[in-house]
């Protein structure tokens, strides 16, 4: 390399030079060793420069409100810096920020692929049982015994329903 290029991120001397053609345009990015590592450019799973560029676009803070995910503590700044999310709830919490990028990144913004039916129905039934059991406890504390009896029967019926479904599979 004839000229000395500096890292596009931190201005240290760049040792990694990427060139990729995206949408008919040649895009070049120069990175120093540590930024290249941090951005996963050396990752053997492969790396598209568009990923990096979309992260670059995330960087300038446009003064939007800062969000922090209550579940994992990821902040808007963290997301802008790394381009990665911290946990499943982040997708809900950062949805408005994320949507425009998903439109650029993917063929669409709605999932059309496989659905994990077994795990989902298990999660739904656990959630349903939990809420029924909570209702039962509440009814007992409030001495609403008629309600409590009804919830108890519902729990019993639901458990039998789930078991018979499991037996069928």
């Amino acid at each position: 390399m004839a000229e000395n290029l500096n890292c596009s991120y931190c201005n240290k001397p760049a040792t990694v030079h990427l060139t990729q053609i995206v949408n008919n345009k040649i895009i070049k990015v120069d990175l120093c060793e540590s930024c290249a590592q941090a951005k996963g450019v050396t990752d053997s799973e492969g790396y598209a420069l568009t990923d990096l560029l979309s992260k670059t676009n995330l960087s300038p803070d446009k003064g939007k409100s800062q969000i922090t995910c209550p579940d994992c503590g990821l902040s808007t700044a963290d997301f802008r810096r790394t381009g990665r999310l911290g946990c499943a709830s982040c997708y809900h919490n950062f949805e408005s920020l994320l949507k425009p990028f998903l439109e650029d990144m993917h063929a669409g913004t709605a999932h059309k692929g496989k659905i994990p039916d077994v795990a989902l129905s298990r999660q739904t039934s656990i959630a349903k049982l939990n809420s029924l059991e909570n209702a039962l406890h509440r009814a007992i504390t409030e001495e609403a015994y008629e309600d409590a009896a009804r919830f108890r029967d519902e729990i019993q019926a639901y458990k039998e329903h789930v078991e018979s479904q499991a037996a069928q599979q």
Binding site: I21, D43, G46, C87, L102, H106, G108, H111
Partner: protein, 362 residues
Amino acid sequence: MIESLLNADNAELTQSTKKGAPVVLSTRLRLARNLVDVPFPERASNTQRSNVMTRCADQIGELTQMKNGAFFDVAELSDLERQVLVERHLISRELCESQSGSGVFINKDQTCSIMINEEDHLRIQFLKTGFSLRYLWKQIDRFDSSLENGLDLAFSSEFGYLTACPTNLGTGLRASVMLHLPGLVISEQMDKVIRAVNQLGITVRGLFGEGSDATGHVFQISNQQTLGESEGEIMARLGSVLKTIIDHEINARFKYIEKNRARLLDQIGRAFGALQNAHVINSNEAMNLLSLMRLAVDLEMLPEVNRPDVDRLFIECQPGHIQYAAGEGIEPDARDLCRADILREEFFRLPALDFDKVNKLV
């Protein structure tokens, strides 16, 4: 720790007895999956990471598909062992550099590897020699569904499978096919091909991903988008792009032979001579010589039964494998000597090149 893997007698990429195919080396599918109730690996605490590893490893170990498989805790592997696994495409560089609580499950014939606590909690990979998207999808889909019986995965009805990086969101599927494209490289059409397929949401990378150049004329072609299309649609699109590339490659080869027959035969002949006689070969040179040998097999100048040997040497000539075979840490210079020794021995066993086959083609 990994001797049993390296000495396995039925490893898909290195011990295959199948004839393989012209142009296509191998197909890989990977699915990114996360558990619903734990932060993604990068934001998980060490305790959470090690819990995830135990939960996943227990669950995976019980699956029939992983019978006789082996589990490796990355922290317990030496740098060299990690490098060997990377060179076999069984783990990623990212996994090697990860913090504690990362591991990999590899099945007996090395067609399936599941990385735990890489960028996502689970990265499931199935691979096979040749062009095999549909068969691999059946395998990986079944595996994924049986995993789901015991693990609650992070999934939203809107966004699909939730992943640490939004570039993998939705299906979490990356389908990639390794292609050997000397015809397109020699005829200087590769840039044009890369430009064209990029517009279709398909990515082209070198043998070991971005940053690695396409030594040995080997390229990884994969889907870039994971959301908004079903797995079937993603693979159909990739498949049709691949078929076009393969057609172009075959055409480019024939055109080159038509115009430059003597030059091509000379290059192949000299490469064969070098492999049989050279005493110092670096890994880059080895890749390029082997590329010409794979082309020689495709042109029937060498018997088809030797194609898997060439494909195996593509992997076994990588620096980590050479060092591992030498049994101790050796300097790059000494590695080049060992590599040449191995190649001389291998190519000494092959029959002479049959130049007439190409003469008959034109």
